[in-house]
């Protein structure tokens, strides 16, 4: 089990398209992945869970991963949150 603190750098926050891409990326790993904001946590593979956290640009979130590819999963997802996708 590993975790990582990330400051979100997505101009529109974790919304709409970015949220979809984030969940798609998370789903490509076999590890259990969680996204935590404040006291609330969500399954990073659930679009409903991720969107219900309503993560805005500049907010700090914690990523957790548990499984065989946890390290790679954390790196990839953290990079996504910090730089956005395109």
């Amino acid at each position: 089990m590993r975790e990582k603190q990330v400051v979100v750098q997505l101009p529109q926050g974790l919304h709409a398209r970015p949220a979809t891409l984030f969940v798609k990326t998370a789903t490509s790993f076999s590890s259990e992945i969680g996204l935590i904001k404040g006291g609330k946590s969500a399954n990073a593979k659930s679009i409903i869970g991720v969107m219900s956290l309503a993560v805005a640009n500049g907010e700090t979130v914690k990523l957790t991963a548990d499984g065989s590819d946890e390290e790679e999963a954390l790196d990839k997802l953290a990079a996504f949150l910090e730089q956005g996708a395109e």
Binding site: G13, T20, N43, K45, S46, I47, I48, S52
Partner: protein, 584 residues
């Protein structure tokens, strides 16, 4: 039963004549029977797979027929359907026993939808509808009922000898309209909805006639009734008599012939016979209308009304939401110019969250730029959103209702402030964004030279300019005869604005209704107007007309028209001369 005529809002032009197919969402009889938890879970899994494959087909068909963006919604639905959180909740409910799959789906999607609709964010609230849509789809699959979509029903009907139909419904959701098969559906008529509702926009994109907002009268229509739908006039005629039917058949034939003939102009530029180039662009009120503009080859968006973002809601749209809408238009137009007009709203519109007082004289009152300059935060938010969108295409900014140079300067000071805020935050925008203003107050028209000095462009808004100049409310039938676009005063004002703009090398366009009037176009062209902006459905006719005219001859025509003493004389001259032109 006799003929009934119902008036509504013409949402998409054209004439359709066909039998009615009254479409009701299937009243689903929800099964109450509860089997063992394992059986219920298996039923849920089967239904889920069925729903998923249905969505995959829908996605692919929509992508091919309407495009990627329209199809995206179904991909989002597929993702929701596979969501571990949703599936997890349903599984937990089922494992507890004593509940069937139908009830578990209803409960889980209902709770999630409620959660989403309580969020502050507009985008999230819209997702609540998606979750409900997915829930409905699952229920239908559980019932083993055919998903009650239009296409399916229409195909069946066709198999049993009925030809294409006009769909009659209370309302149509985005997924309903996306599924319409234009080969089988000749048009649609709905009880509710307005000209910028989603279904209206979609109908225009599909090129089928539609009339919306027909009200309760529509309930008199029964399956198989013969209907005439006039999307141009906003009329539905139920069970027409023989004479009426013949009249509309002729009108439909004319419309189709005209549509086919005009289609070839979509790919051509707007150039007069003697090589003078002008721009014919479109006015839009919603980002989704870009599609229709592209289809007719509009040379840009001459007026993007930003009001739609502010109407029918409980709170102000934030910068992000506005930015997304403006950016969508900038990107959809692929580098063609997009003129975004800042908020033009005032005392005659209901916006509860703005706390506007009702006024005795709203058109002379607290509205448009006057209100924006007074509520700086609101204005700055919109300016930042527009600036941010300018990074993604060719965006221009336009202020409405400017009457004095002080207003113009105050607006630009706030624009400079918005630019500075973005620059400090390192957010990209086009620093050289062009800024112009609407000339719609007579004072601004008379003093247009003062504005032409430092504006990048001018745009004449004739609807208000005529109304203010002739002191007549065109909605008031008793004085609407005074609403005269060809009054010598109006022609002189337009001429003066164009000349002033050209003295300073600025472009000047027109975005009022006059710009699409076939009688006015030759005159405006002759006066030197550089751009004409109108509803997308008028673009092809306008381009065709201009390409048949000679700029040099229209200049002479304009000179002659400006010497006449009244609207009637001007119209008579234009009628005579343009007829000669086109036949020549």
């Amino acid at each position: 039963m006799g003929t009934i005529r119902v008036h509504g809002i013409g949402a998409s032009a054209g004439i359709a004549i066909a039998r009615a197919q009254v479409w009701k969402k299937q009243d689903q009889k929800i099964s109450q029977e509860v089997r063992s938890p394992e059986e219920e879970l298996a039923r849920f899994k089967t239904a889920s797979e069925l729903a998923l494959s249905g969505l995959a087909t829908l996605y692919e068909e929509t992508r091919l027929r309407l495009g990627q963006k329209e199809a995206d919604i179904f991909q989002a639905h597929m993702m929701l359907l596979q969501d571990p959180e949703l599936i997890g909740q349903i599984e937990v409910l089922l494992a507890a026993g004593n509940i069937n799959a139908e009830a578990a789906v209803q409960q889980a999607t209902g709770e999630l939808a409620t959660l989403f609709s309580s969020l502050e964010d507009e985008y999230m609230r819209e997702r609540a509808a998606d979750i409900r849509d997915v829930g409905q789809r699952l229920l239908s699959c559980l019932q083993e009922a055919v998903w009650g979509n239009l296409q399916g029903t229409a195909r069946e009907e066709k198999g049993t000898s009925l030809d294409a139909v006009i769909v009659v419904a209370h309302d149509l959701s985005p997924s309903d309209t996306a599924q319409l098969d234009t080969g089988l559906i000749k048009g649609f008529a709905t009880q509710i909805g307005g000209g910028t509702s989603h279904s209206a926009v979609m109908a225009r994109a599909l090129g089928i006639p539609a009339v919306v907002g027909l009200g309760q009268a529509l309930e008199q229509v029964e399956d198989g009734d013969l209907i005439v739908l006039d999307g141009t006039a906003g009329l539905l005629c139920l069970r027409p008599g023989e004479e009426e039917l013949a009249f509309y058949e002729q009108k439909r034939a004319d419309w189709l012939r005209e549509k086919n003939r005009q289609a070839r102009w979509a790919a051509l530029p707007t150039v007069t016979k003697d090589g003078h180039r002008v721009e014919v662009g479109a006015n839009i009120g919603h980002p989704d209308e870009c599609r229709a503009v592209q289809q007719v080859g509009g040379e840009g968006i001459g007026l993007f009304r930003s009001e739609f973002l502010f109407m029918n809601r409980a709170s102000m749209p934030d910068e992000e939401e506005q930015f997304q809408a403006y950016r969508q238009v900038a990107q959809d137009m692929n580098g063609k110019p997009v003129v975004i007009r800042t908020l033009d709203i005032g005392g005659d519109k209901e916006l509860p969250y703005m706390n506007l007082q009702s006024e005795l004289n709203p058109f002379l009152g607290y509205r448009a730029i006057r209100l924006c300059l007074d509520r700086e935060e609101l204005f700055l938010t919109q300016l930042r959103a527009i600036l941010r969108a300018s990074h993604y295409g060719s965006v221009k900014l336009m202020y409405p209702m400017i009457a004095t140079l002080e207003e113009w300067r105050a607006a630009n000071r706030l624009l400079a402030e918005a630019k500075e805020t973005l620059a400090r935050a390192g957010i990209p925008f086009d620093p050289a964004i062009e800024v112009g203003l609407m000339i719609e107050v007579p004072a601004a028209a008379l003093a247009s030279e003062l504005f032409a000095r430092d504006a990048d462009f001018l745009s004449i808004g004739t609807n208000d300019l005529i109304q203010y100049t002739l002191a007549c409310d065109r909605m008031n039938e008793q004085v609407s005869g005074l609403y005269q676009p060809f009054h010598p005063a109006i022609l002189r004002l337009i001429r003066q604005v164009i000349d002033a703009a050209h003295r300073y090398g600025r472009r000047v366009s027109m975005c009022g209704e006059m710009a699409s009037d076939p009688l006015a176009i030759p005159l405006l062209l002759g006066m030197g107007l550089d751009g004409f902006s109108m509803s997308a459905s008028s673009v092809l006719a306008a381009r065709e007309l201009i390409n048949h005219l000679s700029f040099e001859e229209m200049k002479e025509l304009a000179e002659a028209a400006l010497k006449l003493e009244g609207q009637e004389q001007v119209k008579a001259l234009l009628l005579e001369r343009t007829r000669v032109q086109i036949n020549a």
